[in-house]
């Protein structure tokens, strides 16, 4: 008989417990209770989010694997598939930055090679508290978190030999008590040979391989679904030490096993470890699975079946092998000094049967366990703060007198400044595929053996989403896809990581639903299918929720790897062309709402982020891809945080082209004093700065006209200054080396001297 206390301790509601008893037709054993509690946790069951995620567009001609498997997959030609997914490891990274981030990297890599793909690229999307003022936590705390997280990603990714080729990072007060660590991984597989996490074929043996099982992260899965409070210190034993060396062996050995046809199914043991992998594989196969925990290799003595089933020890895989092919598989693992252990077999009875030295300790119908988790339609309410927050009256502000100083100040903003301090700690060149180095725009890796390359970008602006969750979702899709298109790649697939607060709060749930709809709208409008993703809820500390943060990862295909574009003006004397609207709105707050300018200069997070017009956005992106294919442009960079002026400076910094001098049309109408500010720093989307040689220029302008994309030649590259005039009058003018200094030191200066705790 299970007491109420035990049920509560396992975070099961009365209704959930009733459902559980109904499924079993009896009271559960303590092991069964534990199994249900992790499988029905938010983390594993998506019980708050699932019904909403169904609104994502998930199919398209290239989709080979949509949501539901360990990762999604799209066809990239030559019989190859790009397999990719993004995962969060937020809570563990807050508790122990280095190990939390490191094991997060390990987890997403397993998801990719589990699909039979060779991982070739990692990207990281990071959010931390403010670096520049102590709001919500001291600068030192934040710096230590950043240092630990970056070192952890480097420590794992560099060791296993998968390049971290890009990412993004932002600093906002609301992440101080709950940083975000989202990691994206992409691999390449033979399209016809994607592996599945399925257990089929009654009598086929079930193998366990990898690290020994310890008492790691027991209830880690439920921890990742519970708000932080002071008691979260008690969760500390849930911290795990990653072992990239073990995972490297697993990666190579598993890919070698997949070369043979001895493998039926494979799944990594992530959240909810052995429990999740066994019941999900069997549920997918419509089979049962029968294992004996006494055969599971253990690191510690006296572990109970409960602990073995719930352990989240890292670097472990579960395999179903064709009967009769055991020796072959065991030989491959032996070669890699891994010891594959047979712990059970596939059955036909649809049950997850767990034994301990033969005796049955749990017996649960798989399908119900995996798929019958209660789904919630949580109530939503538009947050009270929105009306006030969205109101922005520019006329109440005083425009800065010296726009050049504002420009330099923005270039030094941590979110805009060079991220070199971060990515040079990552081996971003290993595997010799990186054809666009980090810092130059979207990440681009070539696919050896083909002429093609894949471009990737992860983006999401929590400030935009806080001010308007739906638009925030739309903007994230638009920016990620635009970044990829600016590299010359056609966006072909997307993944997403939804980081939000406590979904049991209607205002948070509203943010979530709005953001999901925004992402769905954006992906539909641009024809980009979503092939998978991850939801991270309960990102709160002491009742303080993070900014709602939908992060979108978009993958694009370059037919000709040789035609990849970066932000850099390659030479002096090129035309500088602005694609998209060049004239800012006459007055009002357009482009200023939620902008970096407003935050930095006026210390305001207000207004509505400028809305995306997806007809314009689609036309712009298609134009970019075609122009790149036809070699019409020499470089491309989208206007994001900091607007056109910052983007222009970034095209010049560290480029071969020197500076630039551009002239922009003035606001069409009476100037409210913010005309120049909007022109320089406004963040209205769907704008790209390209450079072109005279030959390319003519063709580009024609093509743009045919496509209905506004295109204006606004200036020329060259010289040692970057100068912007509006309607003929110089409004900002900076020496290139000064701009370079501000931009290169803006982030790094917060981390010198080299940080603490080695």
């Amino acid at each position: 008989m299970i007491e109420q206390a035990a049920i509560d301790a396992h975070g099961l509601s009365a209704e959930e417990y009733r459902r559980l008893v109904e499924i079993l037709g009896r009271e559960p054993t303590i092991t069964e209770l534990g199994i249900f509690s992790v499988m029905w946790s938010e983390h594993c069951s998506y019980k708050s989010s699932r019904r909403h995620l169904r609104r994502f567009p998930t199919d398209g001609p290239r989709v080979l694997q949509g949501p539901g498997e360990n990762a999604g997959a799209v066809d990239v030609g030559d019989g190859l598939a790009a397999v990719f997914k993004i995962e969060s490891h937020n809570h563990p990274s807050f508790i122990e930055p280095y190990q939390g981030a490191a094991t997060g990297v390990g987890g997403i890599i397993r998801d990719i090679f589990t699909m039979g793909a060779r991982p070739i690229a990692l990207l990281d999307s990071l959010r931390f508290g403010a670096l520049e003022d102590g709001r919500g936590g001291t600068r030192a705390d934040t710096a230590r978190l950043v240092d630990g997280v970056v070192a952890g990603i480097a420590g794992y990714g560099n060791s296993i030999g998968i390049p971290t080729v890009g990412g993004e990072v932002a600093f906002e007060p609301r992440y101080a008590g709950n940083p975000l660590v989202n990691v994206f991984c992409l691999g390449v597989a033979e399209a016809g040979r994607l592996a599945k996490g399925v257990a089929s074929g009654t009598g086929n043996p079930v193998y366990y391989v990898g690290a020994k099982t310890g008492r790691d992260g027991i209830h880690g899965a439920t921890m990742a679904s519970a708000e932080f409070d002071d008691r979260s210190a008690d969760n500390r034993p849930a911290v795990q030490v990653g072992d990239p060396f073990m995972e490297k062996l697993l990666l190579e050995a598993c890919l070698e096993v997949m070369e043979t046809d001895a493998l039926v199914g494979i799944q990594d043991m992530g959240a909810a470890g052995l429990t999740c992998s066994t019941c999900e594989m069997a549920a997918r196969g419509g089979t049962g699975i029968d294992i004996d925990v006494s055969r599971v290799p253990r690191r510690e003595t006296g572990m109970t079946p409960y602990e073995i089933m719930l352990s989240e020890s890292q670097e472990r895989m579960l395999l179903v092998v064709r009967r009769g092919r055991e020796a072959e598989v065991e030989r491959i693992f032996d070669k890699w000094d891994l010891h594959a252990v047979r712990i059970g077999e596939v059955t036909g009875d649809g049950l997850l049967r767990v034994r301990d030295r033969g005796g049955v300790v749990a017996e649960i119908p798989n399908r119900e366990l995996a798929d019958a988790a209660p789904l919630y339609d949580r109530p939503t309410r538009r947050p009270a703060y929105l009306d006030e927050a969205q109101r922005l009256d520019a006329s109440a502000l005083s425009a800065p007198v010296d726009l050049t100083r504002t420009w330099l100040d923005l270039l030094a903003a941590p979110v805009i400044a060079s991220k070199r301090w971060i990515y040079r700690q990552y081996d971003h060149m290993v595997r010799t595929n990186t054809v666009a180095l980090p810092g130059l725009g979207a990440a681009v890796v070539r696919i050896k053996g083909t002429g093609r390359a894949l471009a990737m970008s992860v983006d999401g602006n929590g400030r935009h989403a806080w001010l308007d969750p739906r638009e925030g979702g739309r903007l994230a899709v638009a920016e990620a896809a635009r970044n990829v298109a600016c590299a010359g790649a056609e966006p072909i697939g997307a993944t997403n990581c939804l980081n939000f607060g406590n979904p049991e709060r209607p205002d948070i749930m509203w943010q979530f639903v709005e953001a999901v709809d925004g992402i769905a709208e954006g992906c539909r409008a641009l024809g980009i299918p979503i092939t998978g993703g991850n939801v991270s809820l309960y990102n709160e500390t002491d009742g303080q929720a993070i900014d709602p943060t939908p992060v979108i990862g978009v993958v694009g295909l370059l037919e000709d790897a040789g035609r990849v574009l970066t932000r850099l003006f390659p030479a002096a004397g090129l035309d500088v062309i602005l694609l998209g609207d060049s004239a800012p709105a006459a007055a009002g707050a357009d482009g200023l709402g939620g902008s970096e300018y407003l935050k930095r200069v006026h210390r305001l997070v207000r207004g509505r982020p400028a809305a995306v017009d997806f007809d314009r956005e689609r036309a712009l992106q298609r134009l970019m891809v075609d122009a790149a294919r036809r070699g019409m442009v020499c470089s491309a960079h989208d206007c994001a945080e900091g607007g056109l002026a910052v983007a222009l400076a970034e095209c010049c910094i560290e480029s071969g082209g020197g500076g630039a001098r551009v002239d922009l049309p003035g606001p069409g109408g009476p100037d409210d004093g913010f005309g120049a500010v909007r022109t320089l720093f406004g963040e209205s989307p769907s704008r790209v700065i390209v450079s072109a040689a005279p030959e390319g220029r003519a063709g580009l302008l024609v093509l743009a006209r045919d496509r209905g994309v506004p295109a204006a030649v606004i200036g020329r590259t060259g010289g040692d200054r970057v100068t912007v005039s509006v309607a003929g009058g110089v409004v900002a003018d900076v020496a290139l080396d000064a701009a370079e200094r501000a931009w290169t030191t803006g982030l790094a200066r917060h981390f010198e001297p080299a940080a603490v705790r080695q």
């Binding site: 122990e96 690290a211 795990q240 030490v241 603490v756 705790r757």
Partner: protein, 103 residues
């Protein structure tokens, strides 16, 4: 004053390095080494009047910087200080660290 700080992973925490070293030793024919745990060792030169003051400072430093209390324990030793119980035999560390801080 010479002060030593030993930092070790908490017993419950997995030590991949130690495991890899044991396996390497095994294949080198040193099967007699049954287990290895790797930790960090710091020698501090502390400007302090008394061993007690040195210990206090080193303990604070270990706690704040040298050790990661989430996964590590540490132990402090000061030259010329008589250790706390259990009394140690000459020339060796107490079998159980004198002051095991298990934050």
């Amino acid at each position: 004053m010479r002060t030593r700080v030993f930092v070790t992973l908490k017993p419950s925490v997995f030590d991949p390095q130690g495991r890899t070293i044991v396996e390497a030793l095994g294949s080198m024919g040193y099967g007699a080494v049954r287990d290895v745990r790797q930790g960090k060792y710091f020698e501090l030169d502390v400007d302090a009047e008394t061993p007690e003051a040195a210990r206090a400072l080193a303990t604070e430093v270990a706690d704040r910087l040298l050790a990661n209390p989430v996964i590590e324990s540490y132990q402090v030793e000061v030259d010329g200080e008589t250790p706390q119980a259990p009394p140690a035999e000459p020339g060796r560390l107490p079998a159980k660290p004198a002051r095991l801080v298990d934050a």
